[in-house]
Amino acid sequence: MRLFISIFMIYLGFQLLSANAVEDFSVIDKPNDNGGAIVVSWKEMVAETEKNFFYQIMIAEQEDGPFYPLEKMAYPLKGKGFEVKGYNKEGEESTLVVPNKTYFVKMKVLNGDKSETTVSESEIISVTTKGNFFAFNKLNSFLILIFLTVVIMCFIVYAQRNPHKLFVRRIAGLDAMEDALGRATEMGRSALFVHGLRSVSEIPTIAAINILGKIAKKIAEFDATLRVSNWDPIVQQVSQETVKEAHIEAGRPDTYKSENIFFAAGDQFSYAAAVEGIMVREKPATIFYFGYFYAESLLLSETGAHTGAIQIAGSDAFTQIPFFITTCDYTLIGEELYAASAYLSREPKLLGGLKGQDVGKMAIILILILGTLFTTLGWQGFSKLFWPS
């Protein structure tokens, strides 16, 4: 009887062990990365009994160890694609996985009770990390970038060759710009250009500087005064240079005054307070807001509205656009801000860029319609082509 029980127990042990063996264990260098991670996968265990087990990945720098344990993972757990970026050596600080190094990895299944004895252990797999030269997981975005670049460049070239075939819809805010500047000149008051709150490396700021160049040229021609408030010293420097060049181009270098392009404050609400102060004291006839704005948008434009100035705003800040619409005479919404420079200069190659943009937009609309259609019909494959991975 005792023998029978012993055999049964051994059989049960085997059963338990084989049920908890680590199957399909694989270790690979993480693809499309800088060589700083390893990906560990194993077959997900689903047996009811395994609720009482832990899984633990062990990593070593030499094949014969020592193996350093990673955090214990409780059941149920996804067995695919566990990323190892570092480990803790005993008594030492944490260590990162580095490129061009060989690591040895195994996996243990531990008993869930207090004893934490090893139930089973996988084979040891070695892996050498390396950095990759192309992120294939970003292939879709790369191809879209190439497509849009080619389309936009083609239209720029086309526009240069056929300058009269371009139609650009009216943008009321930009048409009103000249009148607004003329008004400032007639009233003998200044115009104020308020920059948004982003740095010079951001596209809305660059677009604002482009518009500033056009406004400054008109101002120089009209012999009026333009004041430009800045939140960022680099934007201030670039704006000074832009306005100076515009004055030179208009043949009025003598009327350029560097102190008119000033740094108001480096803090959001200090900036708002400084600019509002200027509005109230100097009562500019025309105020322009171009760039990316935050909560200060309404503070500025409402104060400007009270002073009776003509206000033209342009921003791609989604949450601030309603505030500009309610308080300004004209508002350029989103991409109109980027189109303004091309629209004002009427230069064919700049307008060609706008046309290219429209074709890009058509392509996006088409993809959206097809994606919605296919997904509704139960096939996600098309949508997945455009998913980030």
Partner: protein, 286 residues
């Protein structure tokens, strides 16, 4: 008679803005002084953040850590401080480790005072239970660095202590070793940067807390799953306080906010009423 009425309506139509300011002021002040209860029901986005912290606590216990990024300053303190307090209280109550930092240099003092208050209340030890890393410049590059090598991004904490020696940060190799990241954001250098440079590159769990005016900006991130939850404005903060069973500033702030919204709605309706009457008389005359 008609002309007289029209004249009066014109006057009403061009209501002096100081009257509007006064009524808004009173609609905020009086509900602060008079107490009454309002039903506060948490929405799914707030619940998601609450549940995530509960999950981390359940699965990891004291080994679980959350990172709070104080990306705001005093200007938006009224909305974001109650959120920060509730999140900290939730984490401390569940014995989670808290790592705090911030992308806004002007928010450092504020963050320190909030952290100190809550740590004192829950009797938490600095270094063991919580760490404040302070401000580092760079926003995007800082987040990328945290994803690559946490210790090189923050060699020391805000008080000059080595992060390799503090129990709460000792074992953090990259940001992926932190169980949950929440950005309390009031503008540039906040949730959007965490999504673009952090979540998209390193795939950690990210939650957001922001001012009410910004909340609409982040809904696409919620739908795409790049943010697992969002606490928006004082209303969101009040919902979190209610879930936590710790009603404080935000819950009491719901009274003035509710009344101010109603006053605002009244003004808009009244303005439209005047406008329609005006148009009616105009069309009648012509």
């Amino acid at each position: 008679m008609g002309m007289q009425m029209k004249f009066d309506l014109k006057k009403l139509f061009n209501l002096d803005r100081r009257i509007i300011y006064l009524l808004i002021f009173l609609s905020i002040l009086i509900p602060f002084l008079v107490e009454f209860d309002l039903p506060i029901k948490a929405n799914k986005d707030v619940k998601n953040i609450f549940n995530k912290i509960e999950d981390v606590a359940k699965n990891k216990g004291h080994q679980g850590s959350i990172l709070l990024s104080f990306d705001f300053d005093n200007a938006s303190k009224a909305e974001l401080e109650p959120m920060a307090r509730s999140l900290l209280a939730h984490a401390f109550k569940n014995n989670l480790r808290v790592i705090a930092m911030g992308h806004w240099p002007n928010g450092v003092e504020l963050a320190k005072s909030i952290l100190n208050d809550l740590a004192r209340e829950f009797k938490k030890e600095y270094g063991e239970d919580w760490v404040y890393l302070g401000y580092r410049p760079g926003v995007s590059i800082l987040i990328i660095n945290m994803g690559k090598d946490f210790k090189s991004a923050f060699q020391t904490d805000a008080f000059g202590k080595n992060t390799k020696e503090l129990a709460a940060t000792k074992n953090i190799k990259t940001i992926n070793d932190i169980d949950y990241v929440i950005s309390l954001s009031a503008g540039s250098g906040g949730i959007e940067d965490w999504v673009v440079y952090g979540r998209s590159k390193y795939h950690f769990e990210l939650g957001g807390a922001c001012t009410a005016v910004m909340a609409a900006d982040f809904y696409p991130f919620l739908q795409s799953g790049q943010l697992n939850g969002l606490i928006g404005g004082l209303a969101g903060a009040a919902q979190y306080e209610t879930l936590l069973g710790r009603p404080a500033e935000a819950v009491s702030g719901m009274r003035p906010q509710s009344i101010a919204h109603i006053v605002l709605i009244f003004f808009i309706l009244f303005g439209n009423f005047c406008y329609l009457i005006d148009r009616f008389y105009l069309s009648k005359r012509s």
